[in-house]
Amino acid sequence: MSTLEFTKEQMVLADPMLPTWFRVQCVRRETHDTFTLDLACQDGGGRFSFAPGQFNMLYVFGVGEVPISISGDPATKEIVVHTIRAVGAVTRAMRNLKRGDQVGVRGPFGSAWPVKEAVGRDIVIVTGGIGLAPLRPAFYHVLAHRNDYNRVVLLYGARTRDDILYRDELKLWRGELDLEVEVTVDSSVGRWRGNVGVVTKFIPRAEFDPGNTTALICGPEVMMRFTIQALVDRGVETRDIHVSMERNMKCAVGFCGHCQYGSKFICKDGPVFRFSEIEDIFGIREL
């Protein structure tokens, strides 16, 4: 598993319960309620490695700690990127951070998207809302190793035109001749001339070979449920479908039990699961 890469002097910081100090390099507004934080190790000596799909625990001093997926390029080791929706006290405090402010980072934690296992196959990424953020590192990886994969499909749904994440990158990716990138919004007024409707509508006609496809899904659970159904209807096996689950993660190392999901812990066994391994508990409402 990828870990923080430290010099000998820094090794003391490798305790998973102990935050490492990072400094904010940049805060970028993405949409009205989301923003991206670029973080660098405070002393400049650390190189941060992670696998696509993993998350960090980000700590705003005096406010609290929250789990946030890493959303940057896994090939970039100097800057750690997180895209965050401001929904609670901690994330709202993060939105007010400025360049040079300190943030505590624990991580990376959790399982990863199976980008290596998917070599030689079609990749179908289906995502909605801020779910694009945890999938972006996997997409970066696929782009950087484009020849390792067959067809690559990215299907993204957002609430409205103004809620579309990473708009400039999506435009760039849509322009590539060897990628199929579709964007849709649930609701549209005015100047939007793109697709309107749910993201699952693309699945029946997207170009991929269901028998040789690895599907990666991240979004609200209801959206994932319908997406899985549409993929299965196309003939994709549940063992080839991977989902990123979200629960109330606290310790991030499987001690506290806050994120227990049946016999699993989201923080330690997930957040990325092969769907066939959680299929039996996925529909249980109480979990």
Binding site: A158, R159, G190, R193, V196, G197, G219
Partner: protein
């Protein structure tokens, strides 16, 4: 376009995949090609649903006009899909507007002729309903998902 060419065009459309040849011939006899430019209205809410379209190329917005917000797109119909099913259900009037948002090529099928044929041939009726009902159900489910406003979080 002659009947054989129209037959071939229809046969390559996903909606007619596997349809018995005699029905394809019948539908081809009621079909014609049409093209709409960007922003051209294809049908208007309240008008008679006298035709339905299978999309060969392009993108169409299904819209409803609201006095305060203007036209609101509730769905887009793309290449390979079917545009319009109000022709199946009385009073055979469109419930929404349809506007091309890209140059769009369709095959327009005379709904009156098809309704007459369906009334006279229950097997044809079954064959077409078997194809239309999943589309209607799919759009109902999609609408429900849109109503859920899944991506909204109170901030």
């Amino acid at each position: 376009m002659n009947a054989a060419s129209m037959n071939a065009l229809l046969a390559e459309h996903p909606f007619f995949d596997g349809i018995p040849p005699q029905y394809l011939d019948l539908i081809a006899s009621a079909a014609s090609e049409a093209r709409y430019e960007r922003r051209e209205l294809i049908f208007h809410e309240g008008d008679e649903a006298s035709v339905f379209h299978v999309m060969r190329r392009g993108k169409v917005a299904i819209e409803i006009f609201t006095p305060d917000r203007g036209p609101v797109a509730i769905e887009t119909i793309n290449t390979g899909e079917v545009l319009g099913w109000s022709w199946l259900i009385e009073p055979h009037r469109w419930h929404f507007d349809a506007q091309a948002i890209e140059p769009t090529e369709v095959i327009a099928i005379d709904a009156g002729k098809i309704r007459e044929s369906m009334a006279a041939d229950s097997a044809l009726s079954n064959e077409l309903l078997r194809r239309f009902v999943p589309i209607i159900v799919g759009r109902l489910q999609a609408t429900r998902m849109q109503l859920l406003d899944l991506y909204h979080v109170d901030t």
